[in-house]
């Protein structure tokens, strides 16, 4: 058998795999969402309940000013800045928007109170980010993203996505949920942010 024929076979198999992958991707059932993956996003209610109070709080501008003064200065050329637990707690208390980048199951089990869930690898990650914009999250809002601690890179991946969508003030709580929980800081289980 000639190499030309072998390469032709290989190309045909690649084309078949590509077509199947595309079809499967289009037919993939959307994740049944909970917490915010559903709706940090879609119904807006979670965001309104969250510390950020993006929709209906009358002191939104004041809060934003407070958050900007609290958050560490970030070089505008950086996509995000890593922060430690104390700073994360301060921003949380001041009402910053927290986004949990972990999988939905982990979020439902327990998460930082008022955090919304956008699982970065879920099929609705982009939809969640779009919904965030629709719900009124401004591009210069202070946003804290976290996942499962220092070995976890989901918060980095989600921050990159958020940055690509125009968000400027992204902070990664590097030690993430394990440290927060260990410190006995406020957590919530289930779908409620």
């Amino acid at each position: 058998m000639k190499w030309k024929q072998i390469f032709a076979e290989a190309l045909a198999l690649i084309a078949i795999a590509g077509a199947l992958a595309l079809a499967a991707s289009l037919l993939q059932p959307k994740e049944k969402s909970a917490g915010t993956s559903r709706s940090p996003s879609l119904d807006g209610g979670n965001l309104a309940q969250s510390g950020a109070g993006l929709k209906d709080s009358s002191d939104k501008a004041e809060r934003r000013k407070l958050l900007h003064s609290l958050a560490p200065a970030k070089d505008p050329t950086l996509l995000y800045l890593e922060i430690q637990g104390d700073m994360a707690r301060r921003l949380h208390d001041a009402g910053s928007l927290f986004i949990d980048a972990r999988r939905q199951e982990s979020y439902l089990e327990s998460h930082i109170s008022n955090a919304i869930n956008i699982p970065v690898w879920g099929s609705k990650a982009d939809e969640g980010i779009r919904a965030l914009q629709n719900e009124g999250a401004a591009f210069d809002d202070v946003i804290v993203v976290y996942c499962s601690g220092s070995d976890c890179s989901d918060s980095l991946a989600l921050s990159e996505k958020l940055a690509m969508n125009g968000y400027l003030n992204l902070y990664i709580y590097k030690m993430g949920f394990p440290e927060w929980e260990e410190n006995g800081w406020p957590v919530t289980a289930g779908e409620t942010p």
């Binding site: 058998m1 024929q5 072998i6 390469f7 032709a8 076979e9 290989a10 190309l11 045909a12 198999l13 690649i14 078949i16 795999a17 590509g18 199947l20 992958a21 595309l22 499967a24 991707s25 993939q28 994740e31 999988r103 699982p119 970065v120 690898w121 879920g122 099929s123 070995d151 890179s153 989901d154 991946a157 990159e160 996505k161």
Partner: protein, 165 residues
Amino acid sequence: MASYCRGNPVSQFIYNRYLSIAIRLLLGAILLYASWSKIFDPSSFAQVLWNYKLFPIATISPLSHFVPWLEAVIGLALISGIGRKGAALLATGLLLSFMLAISIDLARDISISCGCFSSAEAPQSHEQGIWLMKLDLLRDLGFLLLAAHVLTAPITWRQSPSSNR
């Protein structure tokens, strides 16, 4: 390629018809099995790919959908025998890519779960992770030899070696 079967008894053994069929079926089954869980959970596989810290984020989602299906198609081609040479060539390329990715992360001392057969492997310590990555490399090397065998085995076998002369 049929020339491998001529003369040399070692070649005659290695490229024995039944052994060749068994190797092809085994490699096909392995690839099909490896693709299974990833096809049904591309999100977890995307996370595995991201953990390699090798791919730009824009490529993660397409790769997480494409690679499992490519494994499945190669596996089916090897099992059915349709386009098996092309499938063996792709399997060789795929395995070399996996081995390269694992080697790069080993060199950077980044501990990852390879996601070879499942995307939901248990978390492990750094040392355990590095040790398992070395085992993954050895395993992939074994699979690579199988793929190379299928690629170089003759398409058809003669009734008797003597008939070659």
